[in-house]
């Protein structure tokens, strides 16, 4: 990554983090309906992988979709309005946090079904192969999701058809209250690549440049018609499973450990040390984004509610 790309990446990660911090605050205040899962700590994965994509490329996401959405270029206003269930939201308020989507930017939806997006991405890659339009599809999913049967079927299918898809496992060590080490028969998801003859690597998911490098290689491979890759990105879960999670199932120690390696601090420190970024510039970035967030919340909260009479709209075309 060039210095400029790194700066851009830092900014993109910062945006996600600040977005989530704000969501957490607003959620705690009440008024934001439903359930919210934050992406904090995994920012380098969305930013690193999506940074390796073209705008026309496709991604599918998880219940933890804010980061993917922002990184893929979804409009902030539409995201926030969606979290508030407004007609002005990206999904016209029908989806909410767990089903946020931005088809215009190739983001084919968060998915509140664990593993739900994996086969969809294979389908995106299939469309690309049939239409010959060169698009690459990326499936983001968690370590927990890799124990769903559809993971297996999807990787096998993508492999035999040599589809242009990258499977990105965000391994945060936990599936809700269940440790990865308990639920999975392997010590690393990348070990499963061999069962599909799919090249697989495991990288530090808090290291933007490492993620980006691995993603670029996988995307290039897909784009060249050489088939799928499996990319495991390890980024310990810093927070509760969802906003408000009492985390009775792990000790302070586990949570604290997860905070040790922060993708943003880490990159910011490097860039500052290398003289590429100043503390002032960083602050200015924060301030600017903070203002944008303010305006997005204003936009969202001023937005109209959907009309209850429209409850059966959008079921069919």
């Amino acid at each position: 990554m060039t210095d400029e790309e790194q700066l851009e990446g830092l900014l993109a990660m910062l945006r996600i983090r600040m977005f989530e911090d704000r969501v957490r605050t607003e959620f705690a205040k009440g008024g934001m309906p439903g359930f919210v899962h934050t992406y904090s700590g995994a920012e380098a994965i969305a930013v690193g992988v999506i940074g390796a994509l073209e705008p026309a490329d496709l991604i599918t996401s998880t219940h933890r979709g804010h980061g993917h959405c922002l990184a893929k270029g979804a409009p902030l206003d539409g995201i926030v309005a969606e979290l508030y269930g407004r007609e002005t939201g990206l999904c016209k308020g029908r989806g909410g946090s767990m089903h946020i989507a931005d088809f215009a930017n190739g983001m084919l939806g968060a998915n509140a079904i664990v593993g739900g997006g994996i086969a969809l991405a294979v389908g995106g890659a299939l469309a690309s192969q049939v239409l010959g339009d060169g698009r690459v599809a990326v499936a983001f999913f968690g370590d927990g999701a890799s124990n769903e049967g559809v993971f297996h079927e999807s990787l096998n299918l993508a492999s035999i058809w040599s589809l242009p898809v990258v499977f990105v496992c965000e391994n945060n060590g936990w599936a809700e209250s269940t440790p990865f080490s308990y639920a999975s028969s392997v010590s690393s998801i990348a070990e499963r690549g061999v069962a599909y003859s799919i090249p697989a690597v495991s990288v530090d998911g808090t290291d933007l440049t490492a993620v980006r490098a691995a993603a670029s290689a996988a995307v290039a491979r897909a784009r060249q018609g050489n088939g799928p890759s499996l990319l495991e990105c390890i980024a310990p879960r810093r927070e509760g499973h969802f906003v408000g999670d009492p985390e009775e199932y792990r000790g302070r120690e586990q949570a604290d450990q997860a905070r040790e390696s922060d993708p943003i601090d880490r990159l910011a420190e490097q860039l500052v040390a290398r003289g590429i970024l100043s503390a002032e510039a960083l602050n200015a970035m924060r301030k600017d984004w903070s203002g944008q967030l303010d305006r997005a919340y204003e936009f969202a909260l001023a937005g109209p509610w959907p009309d209850p009479l429209d409850v059966e709209r959008y079921v069919y075309s």
């Binding site: 599918t60 990206l90 969809l120 049939v130 049967g149």
Partner: protein, 353 residues
Amino acid sequence: MSTPDEPRPRRRREPTYLDALTFALDAAMDEDPRVIVMGEDIAGGAGTGEPFEGQMGGTWGVTKGLFAKYGPTRVRDTPISEAAIVGSAVGAAMAGLRPVVDLMWASFAPYAFDQIVNQAAKARYMFGGQAQVPLVIRMSVGAGLRAGGQHSDSHYALFAAIPGLKVVAPATPNDAAGLLLSAIRSDDPVIFLEHMSLYRLKGALPDSTAGIPLGTAEVARMGSDLTIVTIGASRQIALLAATQLALEGIEAEVVDLRSLRPIDWDTILESVNRTGRLVLVEESPAGVTISDAIAAEVNERLFGRLKAPVRRVLAAASPVPFSPPLEDAWLPTAERVLVAARLVCDRLPAGRD
């Protein structure tokens, strides 16, 4: 599973329901390069590159010839992975294709239920209209082949209970072709249910590839004394029963539902309003059925105008048994339709239905 033992009669003088499906697939693939077909064994000998590759054309031969004409990119044999087949087809539909999936038998569909219920059916709604899912999922349904409990379900009610799905069950070659064309052109996911007892049924194909609108029932026989509403293969047994009833002086109107979701209420209500009597015939195990939904609605909308209680001729409340006498007892039959019709027309003391 498999095909029955007799050799497949292909392209006889008078076309069959199977021919109609092939005709529609071919026409749709010909007119739109975004249409692909995928499923287990729809080509055969996949990847061998031998002359026999693609010769099989699916369990019933419906996709025969398509591999040779459209090649392996658009006619895709799959592994036995129902979830990934449907899931990837949903994703492909979102990304610009119009996939036609062959799931073989409806009994295998539960493996793909997440993809059908949570993904295909909900995407458009949850995403506020952003997603289109122009996807057709074809399946063979129905009992009667002695195939036993895990190869004989129709699952009509399960599919029809899901908002976001369109569900059709053609009962003639003409409808098979016309509805399949419309299903492929629809921007919504369509579950396409083909009863195995109909595959060899002969009949004219449509003159054009215009298609038949989804959501419309068809009056298969006109009559003034009672209405019989049928689903899929039940049309045939109802028509049989109607012929006998006519001899007894009862003129039955047979309405073939064709579209199980949405339902063509206008046609049903108009007919029952006229006849005042209704019998429903459906090969679903008694319990929760589409016929129940129709009976409930008709009773509500035509309250006080019915001359007799609505009767339902359903399958037994059990899985499908293997043993021939049991399976015959499980199925709705023309005989049972007759009994119900006579009852509804007051021609018979109430007895076993």
